[in-house]
Amino acid sequence: MKVNKVKRAKIIELVYASIETINGQRSQDYWLELTEEVCLRGKKSRLDSLGLVTLIVDVEERLAIQFGVEICLTDEEAMSEEKNHFANVKSLVDYICLVLEGKQNGQ
């Protein structure tokens, strides 16, 4: 079953809330914008590896509270640089939707 538009929008809001939390821990020069295109990983990203870990763990915690599902975004598949699920907010949300769909389909 595909994640519908409303749920996707809620996931984007959830990721933005996590970004705001991470911004709260960082100097203003390194704050991330709340857009789907903002880079989370790679040379163009304002996040270092520690920031990325903190962000992803925060997103996981929020998903568990808001949707009642335990989703692992920190396994090797998710963290793989090759697949680059964390390139930006859009790809992160796409990946979360994919994992959620898998869960809903009993995978």
């Binding site: 709260g24 821990q25 960082r26 100097s27 520690l50 870990v53 903190t54 763990v57 915690e61 920190t74």
Partner: protein, 566 residues
């Protein structure tokens, strides 16, 4: 309040970047610039005083460790190995002596206590048992650390467990540890920031001193003017009435810490006072309030009036009112008064009050516990003043006695407190920690005296400080500080009399004093302008030719002056 930026050194055995970020981004006073020391280099950081982080004169340091990483014996206990308690405590002692060595490098050292993640169940039902339980051992470790650091005036332990309790399940996340070596969840760091800043404010004399309260639906339920004191909701077999009584008890307990209470209420004064006097379940009586304004005027104006009367700055005031309109009005009109959001539910009043982080002080003195009484007797003094013809006649009728004391371990605490809290009658508004003051007075050419004042209404405690620096044949008054409680009672002149008498006795030629203006110490300038000292406007400085004596006011008596001076 001017938001001076503080430098803070963070030392820890986990990644401190998240904590540093939260500390740097928090907007409450003071703003902080964190200096993060390398990860897991605690011992190296504590033992090497020459490192840049220490030589850069930081304002304070937070040294945060995890018990299993700093204490090897405890780490073995976590593996269920048999280790004697004495071995664990020996390592605690070693760590305490390392912390002890840091005290001279910074003004304040903050040490969060040790905790374990809540998922660590240890020995379960045996975990609180002596010599077995992990939790039992951890409590003893924390207690031992408290005991070993108790005699160091500038080291403070903060309770990490309370932050964990506030945050709940999100306090620990093993993933943060494995992937980032971050020991706690983000919310724990936010709680820590609030307490660290609150401690800093307390140490620097910025804690709140006065709670101004509304009456109807704040101290009791109902509108007393409409229903009469017999029918207000207070105590009885009524859960709401009980909540009001508990709230009053909590307020009363704060007076034992030196916090003053006041009333600003829109009411008929006679009716409101009758409720306070007559209702059998009132915990707070009139003598528990330093002052009150009960009338139909604007509350902001009444607060200004009351605060002026009590000689307390508006920045030291907390205003509590159940009415959001009144709260908004006071916030708008008086932006330095702290007006906390207040719960609608009376059963949450007590917890709302207890959770305020604005009353922290680095010490509690005897004067603190007596403060309300001092203000009540001040009211009686004023009543007497109204019956006297002249100020001098009134001052004479008070029968004031002034005791001059050199600084000593007995009065150091109170002296530092007065030193750092006083704003109005303060020549230079210099601030010093206990340690800095002890160091300053230990220098041969420095003298510092306290002035303890009493009158027929009671003991006002240590209310004045004057300090002198001797430079060749001249003396310089470095600090001239007087509590606003006794301003205008000729204690100012008495302090000058004492310092001039001393300076003459050691044959100094001239005495100088330089006034450093602040937004609050104009009353000090006013006094000095009328003190008889010569004034040089260009440097804001005053001088006295020590060929001349200074006259002691005739409205008071100095006890043990001679033997206390030298």
């Amino acid at each position: 309040m001017a938001n001076k930026q503080c430098k803070c050194v963070l030392v820890g055995d986990f990644t401190m970047d998240t904590f540093a970020g939260c500390l740097n981004n928090d907007k409450d006073y003071p703003t902080v610039e964190s200096i993060i020391t390398p990860f897991d280099q605690v011992i190296q950081m504590l033992t090497n005083e020459k490192l840049g982080c220490w030589t850069d004169k930081p304002d304070f340091a937070v040294i945060w460790t995890q018990p299993e990483r700093i204490n090897q014996a405890f780490n073995r206990i976590l593996n269920y190995e048999k280790v004697s308690l004495s071995q664990v405590l020996e390592e605690v002692d070693e760590y305490a002596s390392l912390l002890r060595s840091v005290r001279d490098r910074v003004n304040t050292v903050i040490v969060p206590t040790w905790v374990l993640p809540s998922y660590q169940r240890g020995f379960g039902m045996l975990d609180m048992r002596s010599e077995i339980g992990i939790s039992n051992t951890l409590m003893r470790m924390n207690l031992r650390l408290c005991e070993r650091l108790a005699d160091i005036p500038n080291v403070y332990l903060l309770d990490t467990q309370r932050w964990i309790g506030e945050v709940g399940k999100k306090a620990f996340n093993p993933k943060l540890w494995y992937m980032g070596k971050i020991a706690f969840g983000n919310e724990v760091f936010k709680e820590a920031v609030k307490d660290v800043k609150s401690a800093y404010r307390g140490i620097n004399g910025s804690s709140k001193k006065l709670i101004i309260l509304d009456l109807d639906n704040t101290l009791w339920g109902g509108i007393v003017g409409d229903i009469g004191w017999e029918n207000i909701r207070l105590g009885g077999h009524d859960y709401i009435g009980e909540a009001y009584v508990d709230f009053q008890k909590t307020l009363k307990s704060l007076t034992n810490r030196g916090i003053l209470l006041g009333i600003v209420s829109k009411n008929e004064e006679v009716i409101a006072l009758e409720a306070i006097r007559k209702h059998p379940e009132m915990v707070l009586r009139l003598d528990d309030f330093a002052g009150y304004r009960i009338n139909w005027q604007d509350k902001a104006e009444n607060i200004v009036d009351l605060v002026a009367d009590l000689k307390i700055g508006l920045q030291s005031v907390v205003f509590i009112d159940d009415n959001p309109v009144e709260r908004a009005r006071v916030r708008d009109a008086l932006n330095t008064v702290f007006v906390p959001e207040w719960p609608r539910d009376q059963m949450l009043y007590k917890s709302a009050l207890l959770s305020l982080r604005c009353f922290d002080t680095p010490s509690i003195t005897q004067e603190d516990a007596q403060r309300t009484k001092m203000y009540v007797t001040e009211r009686q003094r004023k009543d007497l003043k109204d019956t006297c013809i002249s100020t001098n006649e009134w001052l004479k009728s008070l029968g004031m006695k002034v005791q001059v004391e050199p600084i000593s371990p007995i009065n150091l605490e109170r002296t530092v407190q007065l030193f750092n809290k006083t704003n109005q009658m303060n020549l230079t508004t210099r601030r010093m920690t206990k340690l800095e003051m002890a160091n300053w007075v230990s220098q041969k050419n420095h003298k510092l005296w306290n002035f303890r004042v009493s009158d027929r209404f009671g003991d006002l405690g240590i209310t004045g400080i004057i300090s002198l620096e001797i430079e060749g044949k001249n003396g310089r008054i470095v600090d001239f500080i007087l509590s606003c409680r006794v301003m205008g009672r000729k204690i100012e002149e008495t302090m000058l009399y004492i310092v001039i008498k001393y300076a003459r006795s050691i044959r100094l030629k001239e005495l100088h004093a330089r006034y450093v203006p602040t937004s609050k110490n104009k009353p000090c300038l006013d006094f000095w302008m009328s003190s008889g000292f010569s004034y040089e406007e260009q440097n804001n400085s005053f001088s006295w030719n020590l060929f001349n004596e200074y006259t002691l006011p005739d409205c008071l008596e100095i006890v043990n002056e001679e033997d206390r001076l030298y």
